[in-house]
């Protein structure tokens, strides 16, 4: 395996210092969080960053906080393992914890950060669909202050985000959610672990269980377009409706119609589309059933 070329690693202790370093050193540098995407790019894709700015010494960038209004803030350097086992996330948004748990291995998740999963902007990033379904926002710090963008607007294409090179993703903001919100994430991949998603589906909706009524339906898809995407047509089919198996099937078909998959080494576009159809339906029905128990026990991917 290829080894990295010599490079300088800076460890700034403030956001301002980190941004200023990139401004000063110029193009060709990279921020470093857990390194699980960056070191792979160096080793497998022959990417040679001119310098690396490690964000891990900047205080205040990691941790999960519940806000007074019921919203949640997740620091960008929070590891995916922390998201996976966080009691507050497991209680409020178990499907978000699960989507983090689906990434790589325990070793990878001990390093991989939620900010890195977003900033790397891989179409198949596992945590993106769940965050899109929760209508999360991204807080970005630059040299001239901060801005907050909808996560949906954050992604621009494979590996592309709205951030300028010196900007840092500091926080993921999850707005307050209705206590009756239910959700599910399904990562569809042939291997149960250590595989990238052929497709990913996250659903979240406010569910009146006695009447089976769905509101505020959000459906997000991974690995089927240049960026993680919302399936708005499928959402509107369900909005304000009583959830039935037939309707879930229709929503799945609509999601399959509106996604834009490509064929690659993992899967053909047609297969991806069909898996979106099946797994959107399944995610909706699973979310509504709110089955207890661990996701590893209830996941159902074999046919």
């Amino acid at each position: 395996m290829r080894r990295p070329e010599p490079l300088e690693i800076f460890q700034p202790t403030s956001i301002r210092e980190a941004g200023a370093l990139v401004k000063e050193k110029g193009p060709g540098g990279r921020f470093l969080a857990g390194g699980t995407d960056l070191v792979i790019a160096v080793k497998e894709k022959s990417f040679s960053p001119k310098y690396v700015v490690d964000l891990k010494r900047i205080p205040g960038l990691s941790g999960i906080r519940e806000e007074a209004d019921g919203g949640l803030k997740i620091g960008s350097l929070t590891t995916l393992r922390e998201v996976e086992i966080s009691p507050i996330i497991l209680k409020r948004f178990p499907f978000l914890a699960q989507s983090a748990a689906e990434v790589g291995s325990v070793q990878i998740r001990n390093r991989a950060t939620i900010g890195g999963n977003m900033a790397n902007a891989t179409p198949s990033a596992d945590v993106a669909p769940a965050l899109l379904a929760l209508e999360a926002r991204a807080r970005i710090a630059g040299l001239n202050g901060e801005r907050v963008v909808e996560l949906e607007q954050f992604f621009r294409g494979p590996g592309q985000t709205v951030m300028a090179p010196e900007e840092i993703l500091t926080e993921i903001i999850i707005p307050p959610a209705n206590p009756s919100l239910v959700g599910e994430y399904i990562k569809f991949s042939p291997r149960e672990m250590m595989d990238l998603a052929y497709i990913g589906v996250a659903v979240a909706f406010v569910f009146n269980a006695s009447q089976k009524l769905c509101e505020k339906v959000r459906i997000a898809l991974g690995a089927v377009s240049p960026t993680p995407m919302r399936a708005r047509g499928a959402e509107s089919l369900l909005e304000g409706q009583v959830l039935t198996e037939e309707l879930a099937e229709k929503a799945g078909a609509e999601a399959a119609r509106e996604c834009k998959p490509i064929s690659d080494v993992r899967s053909s576009a047609d297969y991806r589309r069909d898996m979106v159809r099946v797994n959107t339906k399944r995610a909706l029905l699973n979310a509504a059933a709110q089955r207890p128990g661990k996701w590893t026990e209830r996941r159902d991917r074999r046919y």
């Binding site: 395996m1 080894r3 990295p4 070329e5 010599p6 490079l7 300088e8 690693i9 460890q11 470093l32 390194g35 699980t36 070191v39 792979i40 080793k43 497998e44 690396v52 490690d54 891990k56 393992r81 790589g104 291995s105 325990v106 070793q107 990878i108 001990n110 390093r111 149960e192 672990m193 250590m194 590893t296 026990e297």
Partner: protein, 160 residues
Amino acid sequence: MKKTIHVTLNGRPTNLEVPAHRLLLDLLRDEIGLTGTKEGCGTGDCGACTVLLDGKPVNSCLIFSGELDGADIVTIEGLKIGPELHPVQKAFIQDGGAQCGYCTPGMLMMAKSLLDENPDPSDEEIRFALSGNLCRCTGYAKIVQAVQDAAAELRAKRAG
């Protein structure tokens, strides 16, 4: 670009002068001479390079030395408790959890960290924890058995 880092390695405070881009795996094997940690894939997929960093299992093939100032690192060479093998090591020997042995250092570091967090795991939990550790030889059944036996031994020790 050389960088001076201060780390605790297998319990011993150590000062090292290392090129910042040197991977932790290469630092351990080639510069320090701790060759217990193995390289399988070099890309985070196989777990053979697993070490504990600040108490948590990580892939040493994906970490720059330049990130490590202040880190606490434990490798397979530091797993023994005094002169005695750790219960996970004994159980792997006793149960045939190792054949060629290439995956074993990573498996043992992962098994130790699992049992530190969860003293009584189910087989399913063991398999989940070890899903980033590939073994081409054993078929995993004996590894899961060894982790169960080590867990029982550790629980008995704690109770006793």
